[in-house]
C-alpha cells in the first residue's frame, strides 16, 4: 500500500451531549463517525457521499484535525515519512497544516470580510511563516492567476465578489502553501449550476497539474461521480460501500447504495424513475440501531441483520462493502 497518501484506521468521532443536570457530566454521545477505515491513494479523488446525519463532513474535518478524533489513527505519508496525524499537537500540528487544506462550502462565510483578497490568500504563508515580504506577494499573484483571478482583485474586499469568484479565492488560499491533500467540503454545492462546472473544471485542472489528492465530500451524486475516481458511501457514521466510481454507480453491492442510485433524478423526461422505497426514517446518531445500522430501513433485511454487525470486506479488487448478503444480492445501479 505504498501508494497511499492517507490511511485511516477505525476512526471515531463522538460529540458529547451535555447532561441537563446542574454539574452533570456527559453520558451520551452523538456518534457522528463510528469506526471507519479506508485509504486514499496519492493523486486520486475519493468521493464521499451520504445523506444528512451520515457524518461525512465530520470525517473530512477530523482528518484535518479541525475537529479532534475520539479514537482511531490517521497516517499521512509525507515523502518517505509516515506521520500519525492524530498524535500531532500544538506547534507540530501547526507546522503540518501546510500539507493539507480545506475548501469550504459557503463562499460567503469562509472569507474574512475584513481582510483584502490578497491577505486572505496570503494567510497560510504568513501565519505559518512559510514566506516573507516580497516572496509572499509573488506567490499570491502566481496562485491567484492559477485560479483565474484577475490581479486587480487582490486589493479588494470579499464583498465585491460573487459566489463563484469567492470560491476561487478560497481555492487559491487552499493552494498557496502547496499542499498535497485537499478536502473539498461541499465546495460547489452553494454555487449556481453554470458556475459549478467552472469550479469543478478548475479543481480537476489543478489536480492534474500539481498531483493533488482530493477528498471530495458532497451530497450531489452526479457531481461526485464526475470528479471522483473512487466513491465511498456513508450511513449513520459508518461506511457501507467503497468502490471505483463506475462500479459503485452501475453495479452497487449495498442496498443503501442501490436506494441512493435509484433516487437520483435523471435529466431525461423519457425515463420514469422507480426509486427504491426505504422504510421509516434515519435513526438518531445518539442511539444507532444494533447489528447492521441500516437494518431498520433495508428492503432486504433478514434476522441476522438485526443482531450482527456486518464486516467491512473487500469483495472484489478495490470494492469494499459492509453487508451480510453482498454476495447473494443482485442490485440495480443507475442506468
Amino acid at each position: 500500500m505504498s501508494d497511499n497518501l492517507l490511511e485511516i484506521k477505525n476512526l471515531k468521532v463522538h460529540f458529547p451531549i451535555r447532561s441537563k443536570r446542574l454539574f452533570g457530566g456527559t453520558t451520551r454521545y452523538v456518534k457522528a463517525v463510528d469506526g471507519v477505515s479506508f485509504y486514499i491513494e496519492k493523486g486520486e479523488t475519493l468521493g464521499l457521499v451520504g445523506e444528512s446525519g451520515s457524518g461525512k463532513t465530520t470525517i473530512g474535518r477530523s482528518i484535518l484535525r479541525a475537529i479532534d478524533p475520539t479514537e482511531g489513527q490517521v497516517t499521512f505519508k509525507l515523502d518517505d515519512q509516515i506521520v500519525d496525524l492524530t498524535q500531532l499537537q500544538g506547534r507540530g500540528l501547526r507546522a503540518f497544516r501546510r500539507y493539507m487544506q480545506l475548501i469550504f462550502q459557503d463562499p460567503y462565510a469562509s472569507l474574512n470580510p475584513r481582510m483584502t483578497v490578497r491577505d486572505i490568500i496570503a494567510e497560510p504563508l504568513v501565519a505559518s511563516k512559510l514566506a516573507k515580504g516580497k516572496e509572499v506577494d509573488e506567490r499570491v499573484r502566481e496562485t491567484a492567476a492559477l485560479c483565474k483571478l484577475n490581479l486587480e482583485y487582490l486589493r479588494r474586499f470579499p464583498h465585491a465578489f460573487s459566489g463563484g469568484q469567492r470560491q476561487r479565492i478560497g481555492i487559491a488560499r487552499a493552494l498557496i502553501s502547496q499542499p498535497q491533500f485537499i478536502v473539498c467540503d461541499e465546495s460547489v454545492s452553494a454555487l449556481d449550476v453554470s458556475i459549478q462546472a467552472e469550479v469543478l473544471n478548475l479543481l480537476m485542472d489543478l489536480q492534474a497539474e500539481f498531483g493533488l489528492t482530493y477528498l471530495f465530500i458532497a451530497h450531489d451524486l452526479s457531481v461526485v461521480a464526475h470528479i471522483s475516481s473512487r466513491v465511498a458511501v456513508m450511513y449513520l457514521g459508518q461506511f457501507v460501500e467503497l468502490a471505483p466510481t463506475k462500479k459503485l454507480f452501475y453495479s452497487p453491492r449495498h442496498p443503501y447504495t442501490e436506494a441512493l442510485m435509484s433516487a437520483i433524478p435523471k435529466v431525461n423526461p423519457d425515463i420514469e424513475m422507480t426509486p427504491v422505497h426505504l422504510k421509516g426514517e434515519i435513526p438518531s446518531p445518539v442511539n444507532p440501531p444494533p447489528g447492521c445500522r441500516f437494518h431498520t430501513r433495508c428492503p432486504y433485511v433478514q434476522d441476522m441483520c438485526r443482531t450482527e454487525m456486518p464486516q467491512w470486506q473487500e469483495i472484489e479488487t478495490r470494492h469494499f462493502v459492509a453487508c451480510h448478503f453482498a454476495d447473494t444480492l443482485t442490485l440495480k445501479g443507475t442506468d
Binding site: Q165, V193, T245, L260, K266, N268
Partner: protein
C-alpha cells in the same frame, strides 16, 4: 406583445409581468416582461439560477412581495376561479378579502425551508386548523379532522399523534410533507412549489416528488414547480420554462426543452451539468458570471456570456418570440 383574449383552458395567465424593487442602490428590475400560462392539472417547471426572477414572479402571483416591490401597471395576472369567474390579481389589494381567499385557498404555496415555514410554537395541526378555519366556517373539531386526514394523505405515519407535534419534532422529510399538507388542506387548484426539495436528501426528494405527482393526479391540481435542478424538472414537469435575469428565454414541453434545446443558454446549462450517463466527460462551463441585476445588460440578457453571440445585434435588441412548434417557443436571434 400582450394578448387580450383569454385562453379558457388556462387556470392562470400571466402577461408581461414586470416587477422592480426600490433599494438604496437604485431601482432593480427583477422580472422584465414575463408571459406564461398554466393549464388545469398541468405541471409547469420553471428553471433558473440566481437572479432569474423565478421566485419573484410567483410571489407576485400570490401578492407576497415586500413593500419595496413595484409591479408594472401594464402587467396582468389573470386567475380563473372555481366558479368560472376571472379575477385580475394585479388589481386586488394585498390584504383584501378576495386576495386572502385566493392566497392559501385557491392557490397554495410551499417553500424551500420547511423549518422556517412553520411557527416553532404552534403544533403542525394548529397551523392546518388555522388555515382551514380562515377559509371557511368550520368548527375546530371538523378542522382537526381535516388536518388529520391531510397528514395521512401526504404519507405521514400516525397522523392522529403527529397532528399535535411541533415542527422541530419532525424530520426534514416529514416537515416538507407537513408543509404540503398545510398547502393542500384547502384543496387549491394551483400549487406553487418554490424549490421544495432543494434542501432535502436525495432519497427524501424522490419520495416527495413521487408524492406530489400522485397528489396531482388525485386532486387534479396544477403545479408550478420552481427549481434549478434539471433532473428534477425532467421528472416532474410537463412543460418547462427557462428563465434568466428576469426573462423567459425558452419554453416547451419537458421533452422538447431537454432533448432539443433551442436557446444557447439552455444548451449550455445541459452541457454544464454532470450526467450519470456519461461519467467522467469534461463539463462545458459557461464563461463569465451572472450579471448583477443592478448592471443589466442591454438587449438579450444572455449576450454577455453567449458563445454564439451575434455582434451588433444581441447587445442592442431584445429578440422576439420565435415559434418552433405549437408548444415550443424561444427568444433568440439565432432561431429567427
Amino acid at each position: 406583445m400582450t394578448t387580450e383574449q383569454t385562453d379558457w383552458d388556462a387556470l392562470l395567465e400571466v402577461q408581461d409581468l414586470k416587477v422592480s424593487f426600490k433599494t438604496d442602490e437604485g431601482i432593480i428590475l427583477a422580472v422584465n416582461g414575463v408571459t406564461f400560462s398554466v393549464k388545469r392539472g398541468q405541471t409547469l417547471g420553471i428553471v433558473g439560477e440566481s437572479g432569474s426572477g423565478k421566485s419573484v414572479s410567483t410571489k407576485a402571483i400570490m401578492q407576497l412581495l415586500p413593500r419595496t416591490a413595484v409591479v408594472d401597471k401594464e402587467s396582468s395576472i389573470k386567475w380563473h376561479r372555481e366558479d368560472g369567474e376571472i379575477t385580475e390579481i394585479t388589481q386586488l389589494k394585498k390584504t383584501s378579502r378576495e386576495m386572502r381567499r385566493i392566497r392559501g385557498g385557491e392557490i397554495g404555496m410551499i417553500f424551500q425551508e420547511p423549518m422556517s415555514s412553520f411557527s416553532p410554537v404552534h403544533t403542525i395541526g394548529n397551523q392546518i386548523i388555522e388555515a382551514v378555519q380562515a377559509h371557511g366556517q368550520v368548527s375546530k373539531k371538523q378542522a382537526r379532522e381535516v388536518a388529520i386526514d391531510m397528514l395521512d394523505k401526504v404519507g405521514i405515519s400516525n397522523p392522529s399523534v403527529r397532528v399535535d407535534q411541533y415542527s422541530f419534532e419532525l424530520s426534514g422529510g416529514m416537515r416538507q410533507r407537513a408543509m404540503i399538507a398545510v398547502a393542500l388542506s384547502m384543496n387549491p387548484s394551483l400549487l406553487i412549489a418554490d424549490e421544495p426539495t432543494t434542501s432535502l436528501d436525495v432519497t427524501i426528494q424522490a419520495q416527495i416528488l413521487e408524492l406530489m405527482n400522485q397528489l396531482q393526479e388525485d386532486l387534479k391540481m396544477a403545479i408550478i414547480f420552481i427549481t434549478h435542478n434539471l433532473g428534477v424538472i425532467a421528472q416532474v414537469a410537463d412543460e418547462v420554462e427557462v428563465m434568466y435575469l428576469g426573462q423567459i428565454l425558452e419554453r416547451g414541453t419537458a421533452k422538447e426543452v431537454i432533448h432539443q434545446p433551442q436557446h444557447p443558454y439552455t444548451r449550455s446549462l445541459l452541457r454544464a451539468i454532470p450526467r450519470l450517463d456519461h461519467i467522467g466527460g469534461r463539463l462545458t462551463a459557461i464563461s463569465g458570471d451572472i450579471p448583477s441585476p443592478l448592471e443589466r445588460p442591454g438587449g438579450c440578457p444572455f449576450h454577455t456570456r453567449c458563445e454564439q453571440v451575434i455582434p451588433g445585434v444581441c447587445e442592442t435588441q431584445i429578440p422576439a418570440l420565435t415559434r418552433i412548434s405549437s408548444t415550443h417557443t424561444v427568444h433568440c436571434f439565432l432561431a429567427e
